[in-house]
């Protein structure tokens, strides 16, 4: 499933990914709360969707034929906000208003406040259902589009996630792509210690999904999986994206500690240095 992708495309995506990761750190630090770990793990998936895969247009956020992205793991809002800002859907200056009173940037994504947020989410287990509804609407027409949903791994413990996945498989929604950000950790610790979800790819297959497993930080594999999903015409696609919680910031990697905890000021400096931000530029 490794797609032929030009080196230029990869370089461009890697550049925006770095910007998004810096934004995630700055935003959660400025907010004093938020979810850096899962935002960093999903960063490359969101980046690839917003900059390459989705048919969207910042000049026409309400375009009826636009592809839909449902961020079911609504706590990864900073990653989506940053990508949208870089893509031109909102001013980048606004990013540091995250979680502040009066801001459009709610702690969990809110469709009534921002263009291109298709569904307000955050109470886990509801996003896939909304995505299934959107995919059914696209099948009915008159506006045809594809629907992508990003699922967290802790969210795979929620019963309604499986209800909704069952419906997507039953209706053979080939216009639906479910992407699992498999970063291995939830709020209290590793998923497999708290309530194991494995074998997760087998579960998707059993629920009638064309299922692919990829490295969720490898753009050739990510874009390859999206292309494979587009070629799949008789079933929805599930992409199990193996990711690293906190990816890109050494002390946030592979731990649940920064799931719902923002960086301190010292940690902010250190993280930005690791992410190659120009010295002293913490905004």
């Amino acid at each position: 499933m490794v797609e032929e992708v030009s080196a230029e495309t990869i370089r461009s995506l890697e550049a925006t990914a770095l910007e998004i990761r810096r934004d995630i750190i700055r935003m959660t630090h400025a907010a004093g709360s938020g979810h850096p770990g899962g935002s960093l793990s999903v960063c490359d998936l969101v980046n690839a969707l917003v900059f390459r895969e989705l048919r969207i247009d910042p000049a026409r956020p309400e375009w009826p034929e636009r592809d839909r992205l449902v961020m079911s793991k609504g706590h990864a809002a900073p990653a989506l906000y940053s990508a949208l800002a870089l893509r031109g859907f909102l001013p980048r200056e606004e990013l540091l208003t995250l979680r502040k009173l009066g801001s459009r940037l709610q702690g969990h994504v809110d469709r009534n406040k921002l263009p291109f947020v298709e569904a307000s989410t955050g109470c886990l287990g509801q996003g896939i259902g909304m995505a299934v509804g959107m995919a059914l609407a696209a099948r009915l027409g008159p506006h045809h589009f594809r629907t992508y949903a990003i699922l967290g791994d802790g969210e795979c413990q929620a019963g309604p996630t499986w209800e909704a996945l069952m419906a997507g498989g039953h209706y053979k929604l080939s216009n639906l792509v479910v992407i699992l950000d498999r970063n291995l950790y939830e709020t209290d610790g590793p998923t497999e210690e708290i309530m194991g979800i494995e074998p997760i790819a087998d579960k998707f297959r059993a629920f009638r999904y064309h299922t692919v497993e990829i490295d969720g930080h490898d753009y050739r594999q990510i874009l390859g999986a999206f292309a494979e999903a587009r070629r799949t015409t008789d079933a929805p696609t599930a992409i199990v994206a193996h990711t690293v919680k906190g990816k890109g910031v050494s002390f946030m990697e592979g731990t649940h500690v920064y799931h719902g905890k923002p960086p301190s000021t010292a940690e902010l400096e250190r993280a930005l240095a690791e992410l190659g931000a120009p010295a002293g530029v913490t905004r």
Binding site: P64, A119, T121, G129, M130, V132, G133, A137, H143, A164
Partner: protein
């Protein structure tokens, strides 16, 4: 006791109205959760199979799928029993539908104790309170089939989420179907006492008002089918004109229309209010109408409460 008068099915009225709307509005989609025979959405499903989704026993996800359809330009009706629609699916109704301002109409059948034999597990007596507390939600409790039809049309015509609570039992026709959102219907004029009622108990309100009239007591009867938006003006007018209000509902008195009437009058025009409804307990299996009597909503109890209020107002010794 069974209320007098010609009884009609609210559920049939809903199913037929959906069918009528299906021909007029190609954007209409209908969802059900394996109860389409009971809720009567099957009528729509048979005629418009492409726009009907029977999702099986997954009520929470029926609501999120309905929200997704609505957020993509459809108007979605979703039906199941009240205990599943408002109870099982509550947080999905809250977030996917209400928080999103999704254009989803939840029409819940089998509200209240009149479910009968299925018992307390299925007798939903908290739904009005749960649904009324959601920002942006419209809540309607029809008393009969004509109001059910009118309410179905009204929620279809109005953008935004709605909850319509229907009763399993056939109910006597007590209105002319001239239901309007946000308006109470004065079914009987009166000056000594007001009875505010919703749903199945509207008929009992009229029965008691008729009895009281025979002994010279003039009772106003208001059908508050539109629970939200609520006709505060009609309520306060009744408080001023009659000085006492009795509230009847087949719902918990803790969080239902009685609580709403008491708080609204207390803040604006305090008068004695008494609440007849389900006390703070779950129901049980039994004959539907016998359950209403057993749980404190008998005609005799309603009559006693009316006299209690009249005494409190010094209108009788």
């Amino acid at each position: 006791m069974m209320p007098a008068g010609k009884a009609e099915s609210l559920r049939d009225a809903y199913g037929k109205t959906l069918l009528e709307l299906g021909g007029k509005d190609p954007q209409l989609v209908v969802l059900d959760a394996d109860l389409s025979g009971s809720t009567r959405t099957m009528l729509f499903g048979q005629k418009y199979p492409d726009r009907f989704f029977n999702v099986g026993v997954m009520e929470p996800t029926m609501m999120s799928i309905a929200a997704g359809l609505a957020l993509s330009g459809r108007v979605a009706f979703a039906s199941t029993f009240a205990v599943f629609a408002a109870g099982q699916a509550y947080n999905v109704v809250r977030q996917s539908i209400c928080y999103n301002h999704a254009n989803v109409k939840i029409v819940a059948t089998h509200g209240g104790l009149l479910v009968g034999g299925d018992g307390g597990t299925h007798q939903m007596v908290e739904d009005i309170g749960l649904m009324r507390g959601l920002p942006g939600m419209t809540v309607i409790v029809p008393a009969d089939a004509p109001t059910t039809r009118a309410a179905t049309l009204a929620v279809h015509a109005r953008d935004g989420p709605a909850y319509v609570r229907l009763t399993r039992e056939n109910l006597p026709v007590v209105t002319d179907g001239s239901f309007q959102l946000g308006k109470a219907a004065e079914l009987r004029s009166g000056s000594d006492l007001t009875i505010v009622a919703v749903g199945a108990l509207v008929a009992r309100a009229l029965t008691v008002a008729e009895e009281l009239a025979r002994v010279g007591v003039s009772t106003r009867v208001l059908d508050f089918a539109s629970v939200k938006p609520f006709d505060e003006a009609a309520l306060l007018r009744a408080a001023r004109d009659t000085g006492a209000i009795l509230v009847l509902e087949e719902h918990s008195v803790l969080t239902g229309v009685g609580a709403l009437v008491a708080s609204t009058t207390s803040e604006n025009y305090p008068v004695p209010v008494r609440r007849v409804g389900v006390p703070d307990v779950f129901g049980e299996s039994g004959d539907p109408w016998a359950l209403l009597d057993r749980y404190g909503m008998s005609v005799e109890r309603i009559r006693d409460e009316a006299w209690e209020l009249l005494r409190a107002r010094g209108k009788v010794q």
